[in-house]
Subunit: 404 residues, 2 copies
């Protein structure tokens, strides 16, 4: 039998999806599974986008331009201008979700064996994208004690060597919800300039910031034009994950030229998703304001409910729609599986994402889970109760911590 690749063999299964089989089995037993594990919002897609789909009147569902239509990229420029990001259509390449934007970025800037520094915990799929491109992820740990703020610049600088090609952050952060400060970003900018690296920032949660936090885009940092690569997506912003429309934005001409060649090889981004995305941008600003208010309300509900559960520590996120929760168990991978296979509270249970998969050093996340607050408040309150009951019923709960 012919052999498969090393990366194909060694790749970890997505921590967000690897429990799916157990969830299916629970559902088959008639148990309702509340999905806290995945960032699939229940928020309605903008009416203008849904209407645009319904009125799609082309007779041939054809390829679009590989880089995305000029009309769409011009609209994106107007959108970015509102966020004080000054770019031109030629600085934008439309991609099949942020996923493809990241893969293309890595294809453009790394050679086999190069290294990428990422603060951990980080979005688990970054690991897969890096593996696909033959790049090694070098994690730098952030901790729940500081709400997962940026590790010290000295520590990050200590990881830089000849193989380092870029520092990569997600801001606001998935899975931590941390929003990087102006100073943190400027420090990173100085560091990448000093060592001639790229600074890649995944900003797909740009709009979702709370408690007066201000999001600073990597593209607003003066003098960073040749170093900054922005990864973006319509998925979360307009609750249209299935459109599979994202983009890669950079003022670095060499990057954009190389990226276009990779983009041309895969022909074009999805025509229908792009059509819907273009229409979504005509939605009044109020849509995003209301969505952000909804997430804020849900975050407050979830954090408050979880804070009442003995033995749990919650990191209150100031951005995105995830929060990391420390549980009084030693292995959340086992606990998450048990929640699906062996527990239910009045016929209901929860599916959570064990956080080990968000760490380069998987042991660091062993007592953490990630919860996505993309469901309604009632479900979130219920979920906290289910977790509380489960921690009492779970045979391996560190019971000494329950009374703390």
């Amino acid at each position: 039998m012919p052999k498969i690749s090393l990366k194909g063999m060694n790749l970890p299964t997505s921590p967000i999806r690897k429990l799916s089989k157990h969830a299916e089995e629970a559902k088959a037993k008639g148990i309702e599974v509340i999905h806290l594990n995945i960032g699939q919002p229940d928020i309605q897609t903008p009416t203008k986008a849904l209407d645009a789909i319904k009125s799609f009147d082309q007779k041939v569902l054809a390829y679009g331009p590989s880089e995305g239509s000029l009309a769409y990229r011009q609209k994106m420029c107007s959108y970015y201008a509102k966020h004080n990001i000054e770019i031109q259509p030629e600085d934008i390449l439309v991609t099949t979700g942020a996923s493809e934007a990241i893969i293309m970025t890595l294809d453009c800037i790394t050679n086999e064996g190069d290294e990428l520094i990422i603060p951990e915990p980080f979005y688990a799929n970054y690991d897969t994208f890096a593996a696909a491109c033959g790049v090694k992820v070098i994690p730098v740990s952030s901790t729940i004690d500081t709400h997962f703020s940026l590790p010290s610049i000295d520590e990050i600088e200590g990881k830089i060597n000849d193989k380092t090609r870029a520092i990569f952050i997600c801001n606001p952060n998935n899975p931590t919800g941390y929003v990087y400060t102006h100073k943190e970003l400027n420090d990173l900018a100085d560091l990448v300039k000093k060592h001639d690296l790229f600074l890649i920032v995944d900003e797909v949660y740009r709009e979702f910031v709370y408690d007066g936090a201000i999001h600073h885009s990597v593209l607003t940092i003066p003098g960073l034009e040749e170093h900054a690569i922005l990864v973006d997506s319509m998925s979360k912003r307009y609750s249209m994950c299935g459109a599979r429309i994202g983009c890669l934005v950079s003022k670095n001409k060499a990057v954009m030229e190389a990226a276009l060649k990779f983009a041309q090889s895969r022909l074009s981004p999805p025509t229908l998703g792009l059509h819907a995305s273009e229409a979504a941008m005509d939605e009044p600003l109020r849509y995003l304001q209301e969505v952000t208010a909804t997430y804020l309300d849900r975050r407050n509900t979830l954090v408050q409910a979880l804070q009442q559960v003995p033995g749990i520590t919650v990191s209150k996120p100031r951005g995105a729609f995830y929060c990391l929760v420390q549980l009084p168990v030693e292995d959340t991978d086992e606990f998450a599986k048990w929640l699906l296979s062996s527990y239910n509270h009045n016929g209901k249970t929860v599916m959570v994402a064990p956080a080990s998969g968000f760490y380069g050093d998987r042991h660091l996340g062993k007592s953490l889970i990630r919860i996505a607050f993309v469901l309604d408040k009632q479900k979130l309150k219920e979920s906290a109760l289910i977790l509380e009951g489960a921690l009492h019923a779970y045979p391996h709960t560190l019971t000494s911590k329950l009374s703390q």
Copy 2:
């Protein structure tokens, strides 16, 4: 300034799209450009698919399953059964076009520096996908004298070494239109079994065969289950290139398990494209029969018109919708550019794909162009006349050949 990757720098620009700038300039001058360069059919997408788009009634445009919905994969099984291909839904992974299916295949079966044997000329983007995955393409030349039939098995076997992971063909072939015989496929099957390699076959043009040619799928070869990987797409079959829906099919469980991990990392195929694709499969069989008849008619028109042009040699294709044409010029890259920048016939010119980009050894394709017969017969006839006029006007035509 931080450096971009070697592959990013060295990647050739798509031969199908690299002349776009010159085409835009010609159009800006008021010249009508007939696009013979790209396989974007003008055929109408099935009504059932267009209707499904219009009646999309979900309120949240959500992610689908990473592997594609079970319902869709079941429909695909029924479709394949009609082609004597016996597979189960778990043997199918839905991808974002055949492009992604090929990239995932290479991610699953190759390590950096591995080799892939492909008969040339080959679809130019295979080169880019291989480069993105760090794989070296080893071409084996086929020639216009044999209508681009499979090079001898001995010659192919001579290229196999420790680094070889797979033999990769496109059947029916783009750009040659060649349909591989039962014997050729069986010989390849024996070869990959002997050397424990994969046999990857891109069959996106499966339906489009002419003159009584029979298409044999790699998945119908007995005993090849662990070696065969099929790449497929809805793009050409249902004239819905913009849907970006393809698939990877294999009975090799290790391949499918690895592929699913890569698929999960990019979340899901485009939801709207999949929705339209599922509906397309309900279209009566007559749709595909009519489309095939249309292409046959166009092929006959094009080949006949080109055969009347002095100095031109046409390879009459028995499948797909491309044909390779040998011109009496030494460098079709220059000629194709000149057609756009310096020539017009009554305000019209043609855009063709120079064939050098379809060769590993680019010199081999220097006198060839690829023409896609995806336009109506009138345009194809006109194109032949434009080419004839152009060859008389072009300063570098090998005039001695015009009288042959």
